[in-house]
Amino acid sequence: MNPWPFVTAAYAVTFIGTLLTSLWAWRTAKSAEARADALRERD
């Protein structure tokens, strides 16, 4: 059995998961901080 498709699949699952989590965490933090700063400046 050729192991490389399995190795590739395992790395792909990991890198896609970490990439999506990075984007989600960065976007939610940045947008929440921007909204909080905008509210503070409005007061």
Binding site: M1, P3, W4, F6, V7, A9, A10, Y11, V13, T14, G17, T18, T21, S22, A25, W26, T28, A29, A32, E33, R35, A36, L39, R40, D43
Partner: protein, 242 residues
Amino acid sequence: MHALANPRRFLGIARPLTPWLFWSGVALIVLGSLGGLFIAPADYLQGDSFRIIYIHVPAAWLCTGGWTGMAVAAIVQLVWRHPLAAIAGRAIAAPGTLFTAIALASGSIWGRPTWGTWWEWDGRMTSVLILFFLYLGYMALARASVDNEESGGASKVTALYALVGAINLPIIHYSVTWWNSLHQGPSISLTGGSEIASSMLWPLGLTVIGFSLWFSAIVLLRMRAILAETRIEARQRRMARG
């Protein structure tokens, strides 16, 4: 530790620290993965399929390490009422769930060419699957039961849930010695005597440290998001009251 109890002081440290942790983590993950995929020699028994170890072991370490962090945060929250500990517990849950899913998926993918099966209901795999469901339960409970809306942290019930769930951690760790299992026993030891050749071990050190730094960066980003959302909700409540 109490010096960091002030969210403003915490943010002053967390904001500049986040990109350093993130990018140094990414660099080590890339270097370790390249070393594991193309430089480390193939295993004499498992061949090239052993290369999955370089992502599976960090994922397994971080899924149990993440819950350990949540349990410690729960103790700090319940005993010392540290507001950031409650937020840290909530922040760890998402990357902890991700790494539990990666540990399960990469282990299953490794199992097919190595053991001839995708899944076996043995002690190690079953206890990690239970950990995955515990993480999902924690996130649902944390979202549904924020004790103090001013703090944004996990509720006391959620903190207790994290402590009770920690019972699963020694079960995961000792499952391969307590019960017969397809999963191999421990082959890496922090106190020396690792059974893996150093030519195969160094990329693993890089990916373990790299994913740990990346995990820390994501936890800081989640804490920053929760703190900002809490500030928004508090300000909106004040504005609604006039």
